[in-house]
Symmetry: C2
Subunit: 207 residues, 2 copies
DNA sequence: GGCCCAATGTTAATAAAATAACAATGCTCA
DNA sequence: TGAGCATTGTTATTTTATTAACATTGGGCC
């Protein structure tokens, strides 16, 4: 099945919202209700769910638990997938924090940094290794995904390295644009760009 | 002028890349060269620049300095715009760090948090005030944009507050979806969603 | 000067995403 | 039971974004 990127993003959001519903002991939810929580339209929700072939048996909305499982079957891998954070500064710690207590198929299993203060310590719930150990640890822990939160100047070099050692997906949070060989999936996000975008639209609103 | 959101994002990226060119003493750059640095196509670059009405006088590529200025005229506001970070945990500090040393029309002028350890201290280059001071400081410092990096449970409440006090743009980095009245621009970004997307495409690539 | 050519600016075509329209389903309640 | 209705699943339309096509420009070089 080939899902649009935007749909994949929303599925992740649906699942998180549905997990919140479970906490609230809500076992069924209407498409318009789920949509409202995410500030999108009900049509969009239904369309996305159509794409993954889910359909509610009842007309009492979607079975929350069932839908969570269905989404999991689509976006999770069968077995769990191991992740590492490269660069455990403020941003790296923030990202690592998100993994704590989340039940997910994504396991954060290591972080890397070259600061002697950090090496071999457990930071934000994950052990930090020096860059020298990257090759060994990627192989030893079967790490598939790298989250890059290093200073911009190290980004390219480290990317080449982790790709060479078998990383198949990179989430790049640095301001350095990267390129990766085909077969490796790259997602990039730049905070400053988003913030400048906000500034632009604030300005255009004329205030 | 009404620019597509994606174009605005890219303009921000063009500018940063162009500033790097200046550092390298490169005063002219071809569209395909600029494109290559950002891993997009030259057509896209030219099209974006067309939309902002920029055209190179020479056929030796774009005048880097001139283009930086032109982009600035489009995406920056005339006077500088003040920004605050709300919640100065790991993520808040990471964001604050990006503002340091950046010459931009966006000024980070305050942060807010309720941790007594942080209040009234300068953290990541910006003074931290307690939540109680939000109203006063927004008005006193003429803060227009709020960057939300608080725990999810506080997000909604704080948003209502800052909107009431005159914030016109919100960058939401929490996992809580927000809604804002019209006239306020909201941009949301969720790291976990992006990372799950990476995991999905890694899985689909079949490895 | 005038031909060549690389690079641009613009219009046209395609692809992707969001929205709208609507038929079908099955629950509710008289 | 069956009409009414809320909600769904799906197809069609519109909007937005990207890519392709191409005419134009003006400098380099003989």
């Amino acid at each position: 099945m080939k899902l649009p990127g935007k749909t994949v993003e929303r599925l992740s959001e649906y699942r998180r919202t549905l997990l919140e519903c479970l906490n609230e002991k809500r076992n069924f939810i209407f498409s318009h209700d789920l949509a409202a929580r995410l500030h999108i339209t009900a049509v969009q929700v239904r369309r996305d769910l159509m794409l993954i072939g889910y359909s509610s048996v009842l007309r009492k909305g979607y079975d929350v638990r069932e839908l969570i499982d269905t989404i999991g079957k689509i976006i999770d891998s069968d077995s769990s997938m191991n992740v590492a954070v490269i660069g455990i500064g403020n941003l790296g710690r923030a990202v690592a924090g998100y993994f704590k207590g989340k039940r997910s198929k994504l396991n954060l299993v290591a972080s890397f940094d070259n600061d002697p203060q950090k090496i071999n310590k457990v930071i934000s719930g994950v052990k930090c290794y020096p860059y020298n150990d990257i090759e060994r640890m990627i192989k030893e822990l079967d790490i598939r995904i790298a989250i890059l939160t290093v200073p911009p100047d190290f980004a390219r070099e480290l990317t080449e390295e982790v790709v060479r050692y078998g990383i198949k997906g990179i989430m790049n949070f640095t301001t350095t644009p990267l390129n990766v060989p085909s077969g490796v999936y790259l997602e990039e996000y730049d905070m400053i760009t988003s913030i400048e975008k906000v500034a632009y639209f604030v300005k255009e609103n004329k205030i």
